[in-house]
């Protein structure tokens, strides 16, 4: 620029140039949001069917989940607390239900799940370790359960056509996605409603919002899981594999987590039904999930050395109710109940799910009268 023009400009015109630059750089990322979002005339029922049939739709992309479920459950339950309480960044490559890879991105590392048929590899960069396990009958929730398609299919599992209606479209990861609202019939679930936005061509859920109260709740949804980038195409085989570097220590483990271990070795056999909810887990197991759709829970017997620290942490939760036989806390859609008291030598039942505390107390009472069964 010639100096003459610099002198010729008044300070006011120079500062308006600066203001223009600021406006431009702020507006550029916001501009796409102003474009109108196209809609389709697909009905809610058709969309619901499409979602249910999307398990083997190949896709890859980048997902962010945000949870507002704050329960102090520590490390004993794996990553569950972290996954539900904060922001999680995931990369996913999904060929079908049997072949996928989900990378959970950490600031300075990664925790990856690579699923191949009956086997899952859990890799942790900072431990430089990969653990291979057979998929168990029951396990705790993990990162892959929060992917919009997986979460969307789970919550819409038993939705009736009459309980869903269309929502306006929304642009998710650059896709104009028609929306769907499922309002479960008033009952024992803590979930008020679930909003799902769907990739119109494949039925793949792109964004899922789980609300524990009406849509006008200022706190917003309890759990949001959304694609920020998505490509609906079957990813290449080498993307869903785990070609471990020689620097990675690979080991095989018999049990995946505390729920898997309890399910196999604890001295109980869970009944087919508990408090009116059907058992989902097959076989003679001591730990299992019950219910369906947005009304489901998990029942796991814990030894006192696992139960006692958990109970101490739970007592710190806001709104916790403690008593002789149980400690129960609720945050948003999730209720967690733990039976027994400290230094109780026997097993304590952990019951957690999207049900009201009262319902879980019914469940707990039924569990506490289960007889010991020697499985060995």
């Amino acid at each position: 620029m010639r100096p003459r023009t610099v002198w010729a400009m008044t300070p006011r015109s120079r500062w308006s140039v600066v203001a223009g630059v600021v406006l431009a750089v702020v507006a550029v990322p916001l501009a796409p949001r102003l474009l109108p979002v196209g809609d389709t005339d697909v009905t809610a029922a058709v969309l619901l069917d499409a979602v249910r049939g999307s398990a083997d739709v190949g896709h890859s992309g980048y997902v962010e989940t945000r949870g507002a479920v704050q329960l102090p459950v520590g490390d004993d339950l794996g990553d569950v607390g972290e996954l539900l309480a904060g922001t999680t960044r995931l990369r996913v490559w999904w060929q079908d239900e049997d072949a996928w890879r989900v990378d959970r991105l950490l600031v300075a590392g990664e925790k990856d799940l690579v699923h191949d048929g009956p086997v899952t590899v859990a890799y942790d960069y900072e431990d430089a370790k990969a653990v291979v396990t057979e998929d168990p009958a029951i396990r705790l929730p993990r990162a892959s359960d929060l992917l919009p398609p997986v979460l969307g299919r789970a919550v819409l599992e038993d939705a009736a056509d009459t309980d869903v209606r269309r929502l306006g479209p929304r642009r998710v990861a650059g896709v104009d996605a028609p929306g769907l609202r499922y309002t479960p019939p008033a009952g024992r679930s803590t979930v008020d409603h679930v909003d799902v936005w769907v990739e119109p061509g494949s039925g793949l859920p792109l964004r899922v919002e789980v609300w524990d109260a009406g849509a006008d709740d200022p706190a917003g949804p309890d759990v949001v899981s959304t694609f920020d980038d998505v490509e609906v195409a079957r990813p290449a085989d080498d993307r869903v594999g785990f070609p471990a570097s020689r620097g990675v220590e690979v080991e095989r483990a018999d049990t995946l987590d505390v729920a898997d271990a309890a399910g196999r070795y604890a001295p109980f056999v869970l009944p087919r039904r508990l408090a009116g909810f059907a058992r989902r887990t097959e076989g003679e197991v001591a730990a299992a999930t019950f219910g369906s759709g947005v009304s489901r829970f998990l029942a796991v017997p814990l030894r006192s050395r696992e139960a006692d620290p958990l109970r101490r942490q739970l007592r710190a939760a806001p709104g916790v109710v403690t008593g002789d036989y149980r400690t129960v806390a609720r945050s948003g859609v999730l209720t967690v109940l733990l039976t027994g008291a400290d230094r109780d030598p026997g097993a304590a039942w952990l019951v957690a799910g999207t049900l009201s505390p009262d319902t879980l107390e019914d469940v707990a009472r039924a569990l506490l009268v289960l007889p010991y069964v020697d499985q060995r």
């Binding site: 100096p3 003459r4 002198w7 010729a8």
Partner: protein
């Protein structure tokens, strides 16, 4: 004769404070122009406006016939300047500093740089300086270096603010000789100073600034033409008073001031009357007297009541004319 510097109504407010007030400067090419004023009278602000460092609130300034600051890039290469104190990068030697400044800006050429630097250093008497960093220079050496920096491009116009600050008497004489030599070779020199003696010994024209206003701008020779009085020093005071009686303006001790334009005739008259003349000289006003008559109290005095001065506006405690 072209003008080297011409300002019309040059005015600068710093916030509400009026630093320079409607200045009409006129410096001719070839002048050694003395710009006088007490500390804080607006000299430095004026110099900075001429050089485009400070922007005038109103009014215009022309330097070497071109408008400033608009034509700064054509004008300033022909101007050498020293503004207030000299400044240099303290961790470098004087030579490195000059080379660095020479490399800046438009029209800088690598060719002949070492020669230019040496010439400039020679001119100010630093030709033999070693490689010590400027940090270790004395005040006088820094002053000389600043001057060398102003000279390195062989400017048509030199603008110098207090150029002899910090120099010893010998140094002052050197600098004065250098400036006069440059002037003789065609360089216009604009010197601002609060030292009257310095200006008096060097300048052909003076401008006097008082609280932002130009109160005087004239040829020094005109200012200092004989006043029409003669100063007589004699040991025969009584005789002299008797003889000159009604022509005496003042008499203190052996010094008698006589109203008479012709010193030679007076001398003859005194000698004829037998009055012994120790000293007889036509009176000329000193620059100091001229300046004091033209200005009020120094602008760094802030008297509570308005100072008794020659027509100066009463000043409030903040120095802002009421």
């Amino acid at each position: 004769m072209t003008t080297a510097i011409r300002t019309r109504g040059l005015t600068k407010y710093y916030g509400g404070f009026l630093a320079v007030d409607g200045l009409d400067l006129e410096v001719h090419e070839g002048d050694v122009y003395g710009f006088l004023g007490a500390n804080g009278s607006g000299k430095t602000t004026t110099v900075r406006m001429l050089l485009g460092l400070v922007l005038a609130t109103s009014g215009t300034a022309e330097v070497l016939g071109r408008a400033m600051p608009g034509a700064a890039h054509d004008v300033l290469p022909e101007v050498g300047a020293m503004i207030e104190a000299p400044a240099a990068y303290p961790h470098l030697s004087g030579r490195a500093n000059l080379a660095l400044f020479d490399a800046m800006g438009r029209g800088s050429r690598r060719r002949g740089r070492a020669g230019r630097v040496d010439d400039a250093l020679d001119r100010v008497g630093l030709g033999g300086v070693d490689g010590r960093p400027v940090r270790a220079y004395s005040l006088g050496m820094r002053q000389r270096l600043g001057l060398a920096n102003a000279l390195i491009r062989q400017p048509r116009l030199l603008v110098l603010d207090e150029p002899t600050n910090g120099l010893d008497p010998q140094g002052i004489r050197d600098i004065r000789a250098l400036l006069l030599e440059l002037n003789a070779a065609g360089t216009t020199v604009f010197v601002s100073s609060h030292l009257l003696l310095e200006i008096e010994q060097m300048c052909t024209r003076v401008g006097v600034l008082d609280r932002g206003r130009l109160v005087l701008q004239q040829h020094l020779d005109d200012l200092r033409s004989p006043t029409g009085r003669v100063v007589l020093r004699t040991r025969d005071v009584a005789d002299a008073r008797r003889l000159l009686d009604h022509r005496i303006d003042e008499a203190v001790g052996e010094r008698i001031v006589v109203r008479d334009g012709d010193a030679a005739a007076l001398a003859a008259e005194l000698v004829a009357a037998g009055v012994r003349v120790d000293e007889l000289v036509a009176e000329r006003r000193s620059l100091e007297e001229i300046v004091l008559a033209a200005t009020g109290a120094g602008s760094d005095t802030f008297a509570r009541t308005s100072p008794v001065d020659a027509g100066g506006a009463p000043t409030g405690p903040t120095g802002v004319p009421a």
